[in-house]
């Protein structure tokens, strides 16, 4: 007699990298036990009318812990992630202190033991993210760190970046770059263009991003090491990445939902909720981001979820910190705006980023017998309205307040545990 299934996700359409089919998914011991018709279990999650997909994987989450617990914690951020359909997030290392040593990696992993999703800390490339000395990447890699970045800033020193790429290649890890030439971006608070000129806000040109993308592509050519480009936002950057890929270079790129849904015109009311780095760009850049995603030139959609306490965003625009929430809105925006078949949206949010993050053995599917049961169940036609007060994040800085979205996460399952049921976090 077969052992009893713990959980069945019933009546949905299973979508993963291998295709799509109507099936129930049974789960036992945290893993997928069976895929088939009319399966049964003690607990049943209704998935009728829904897509059952591998849990989403965010390459770019700021959990703020340690150091900025008033903005977010591993607990609150992971709850937001689970509600957004994510079963894994890469935690950016611009914490206080920065994740630049085995000790801080261990601390974040310890905090993440009770999180509502898996948390994979990224390590800093340089000590303190100061851009001067290589961090102890090997000791962090031994703890499982697979991505390294100074996110929040780019590595400015070309010689140091070259050495970091070479060193990373030896460890089999990937560097991820926040592309922003500090000299061109100095003193800037939004995209430089017609709007910044009208509003009297110092702007950074698109080229502040593009020149670093182009430099790093040449360093990849030189070193043979892979690189991942974080949150690309300009037409020029995406063109450069497409050309590098055509040359066969090991480059990957992510884009953030706010860069394909919002423009610099949003800054017209001086609301610092719309302040973010890289900044919101022009209509032409938004179109270029969407085109690049549709053309398959972008590997992942990543949220750049960046919580900031409300009082910090009530400051003058040029004094407020950059960043916006993203975990709970990314999937719906991607389904709605990109005009892509559903399976391609999940590819960009789940199995492709899982490979870049080095977590494809646990996350991103495929949904098959024996695989870890990290899943999300999404109703693609259900509508909802973004209400900052009802987000799970400790902060409120969503740029989509009041916006109606289509595409609702019903359930999220982490290693067999339903951490979200009917849109409610279970812990």
């Amino acid at each position: 007699m077969p052992r009893e299934n713990e959980l069945v996700i019933r009546g949905g359409t299973v979508v993963d990298a291998t295709g799509s089919r109507r099936a129930d998914v049974a789960i036992r011991n945290g893993a997928v036990a069976e895929i088939g018709e009319s399966l049964d279990a003690r607990n049943v999650l209704d998935a009728s009318g829904c897509i059952v997909a591998p849990g989403l994987v965010d390459l770019h989450t700021h959990l703020r812990q340690p150091g900025r617990e008033e903005a977010e914690t591993v607990e609150t951020g992971s709850r937001a992630a689970a509600l957004g359909g994510f079963t894994a997030v890469v935690a950016m290392p611009n914490t206080e202190p920065a994740i630049d040593s085995a000790a801080v990696v261990r601390e974040v992993k310890e905090l993440a033991r009770t999180a509502l999703c898996d948390v994979f800390p990224a390590g800093a490339i340089t000590v303190g993210r100061e851009g001067t000395t290589l961090s102890p990447m090997a000791e962090m890699a031994e703890l499982g760190v697979r991505l390294f970045t100074d996110d929040g800033a780019g590595v400015q020193d070309s010689r140091l970046m070259r050495r970091a790429l070479e060193y990373a290649r030896g460890l089999g890890v990937t560097l991820a770059q926040h592309c922003e030439d500090a000299a061109l971006a100095r003193g800037a608070h939004m995209h430089e263009g017609a709007w910044s000129s009208r509003l009297g806000i110092p702007g950074m040109p698109s080229e502040a991003e593009t020149v670093m993308v182009q430099r790093d592509i040449e360093l990849v050519r030189l070193t043979g090491a892979p690189i991942h480009f974080l949150h690309l936002s300009t037409a020029g950057s995406l063109k450069a990445v497409a050309a590098a890929k055509a040359d066969g270079l090991p480059v990957t790129a992510e884009v953030a939902p706010h860069h394909f849904t919002l423009t610099d015109a949003c800054c017209a009311g001086y609301d610092a909720t719309f302040k973010v780095n890289p900044p919101l760009r022009t209509d032409a850049d938004v179109a270029a981001v969407i085109d690049a995603v549709r053309a398959g030139e972008v590997d992942a959609i990543a949220t750049d979820h960046a919580p900031h306490a409300p009082e910090t965003k009530d400051a003058p625009f040029d004094q407020a910190p950059p960043g916006m929430l993203g975990l709970e809105t990314a999937l719906a925006l991607s389904l709605e705006v990109l005009g892509l078949p559903t399976d391609r949206v999940f590819a960009l949010l789940s199995w492709q980023p899982a490979v870049i993050a080095g977590v494809a053995h646990e996350h991103g599917g495929p949904i098959a017998k024996g695989r870890p049961a990290n899943l999300c169940v999404v109703d693609p036609s259900a509508g909802w309205v973004v209400d900052p007060r009802h987000l799970a994040s400790r902060s409120r800085n969503t740029p989509y307040a009041g916006r109606s979205l289509t595409g609702l996460v019903r359930h999220t399952v982490l290693r067999g545990e339903p951490v979200v049921i009917d849109g409610e976090a279970q812990r």
């Binding site: 000129s197 009297g200 702007g203 003058p316 625009f317």
Partner: protein
């Protein structure tokens, strides 16, 4: 009109109305006792996060001459230094019963933000690089007073346009009133984009001067040279300073204007600043009447001016 945050809030008709009402107050200001009670019982708060004694005194005098009570908030000696947020500062003062906030801040957009946090009216007294609408209104008043009107008039605004709130307001006001505006500066001192700006651009002061009815000079700050926007003040003056020789290229009767404070010998030669067609002190004098008009139109609707 609830707030005056930028010139676009007024439009051509609104500007005309302010200038008309300012005429009335100019008459009041010539009286032996230059005071009316149009805003009696109203409270005007001057909220200056950036030092500007001349603008603050102009606004506060305007409010007092209208009979309003004036509260002065000086950021230097206040809660801002104790770490209070901008929003908390505004809401605290709002709780004292402010009818209008006159806001000056080094950051663009602060008057907009303040207007979302208070029930009172907000007057922008200069925000960052963005706008300084009452400066533009007093400039427009001065030009109209001297030249009679704006239709077909040519006005050059010369200098650090990029960082100038005065330039942004003046371009909007002068063009709305029918003037043709030319911005004159090296490309580094122009805004990164002038898409949609109703103005011509020039990098050659001497070429435009002979056609101008007004040349409006902006203050050039010494630190711009350290930002590599131009090599030195000396080189700036050599190409964009209004020297006596260049002033002589202006048509007869053309006005020379400056929002102050002037850098004599940099953007304007000392003898040019004191020339007969320089109306710089008149600009200051007109500021009072114009600011009275703005406060009156925001707060005093329905009050009989003759009272």
């Amino acid at each position: 009109m609830k707030h005056l945050l930028q010139i676009a809030d007024l439009g051509a008709d609104g500007i005309d109305e302010v200038l008309r009402v300012a005429d009335t107050f100019a008459e009041v200001n010539r009286r032996a006792i230059p005071k009316v009670q149009a805003l009696r019982g109203k409270t005007v708060v001057s909220l200056f996060f950036e030092d500007s004694t001349r603008t603050r005194l102009s606004f506060e005098t305007a409010a007092r001459r209208l009979g309003a009570d004036v509260l002065t908030f000086a950021a230097g000696s206040s809660s801002v230094k104790k770490g209070e947020s901008l929003r908390d500062t505004v809401q605290t003062i709002d709780a004292l019963g402010a009818d209008a906030f006159v806001v000056r801040h080094a950051s663009s957009g602060v008057p907009h933000q303040v207007s979302t946090w208070t029930e009172g009216s907000v007057v922008n007294a200069g925000d960052g690089w963005h706008e300084h609408p009452t400066q533009a209104l007093l400039d427009a008043y001065t030009i109209r007073e001297r030249l009679g009107g704006f239709a077909g008039r040519r006005i050059a605004i010369v200098g650090d346009i990029r960082h100038s709130r005065v330039a942004r307001s003046n371009v909007a006001a002068f063009s709305a009133l029918g003037a043709e505006v030319t911005l004159v500066a090296p490309p580094t001192l122009m805004p990164p984009s002038t898409e949609g700006w109703p103005a011509e651009l020039s990098h050659n002061l001497e070429a435009v001067l002979p056609k101008m009815d007004v040349v409006y000079l902006l203050r050039v700050q010494r630190e711009r040279a350290t930002e590599a926007l131009f090599p030195s003040l000396r080189e700036y003056t050599a190409h964009f300073g209004l020297t006596a020789a260049r002033a002589a290229m202006l048509p007869a009767g053309a006005l020379i204007m400056h929002p102050g404070p002037m850098n004599r010998g940099v953007e304007i030669a000392a003898d040019v600043a004191d020339a007969e067609n320089a109306v710089i002190t008149q600009q200051v004098a007109n500021g009072l009447s114009v600011r009275m008009a703005v406060l009156y139109l925001l707060l005093g609707s329905g009050v009989d001016l003759a009272a």
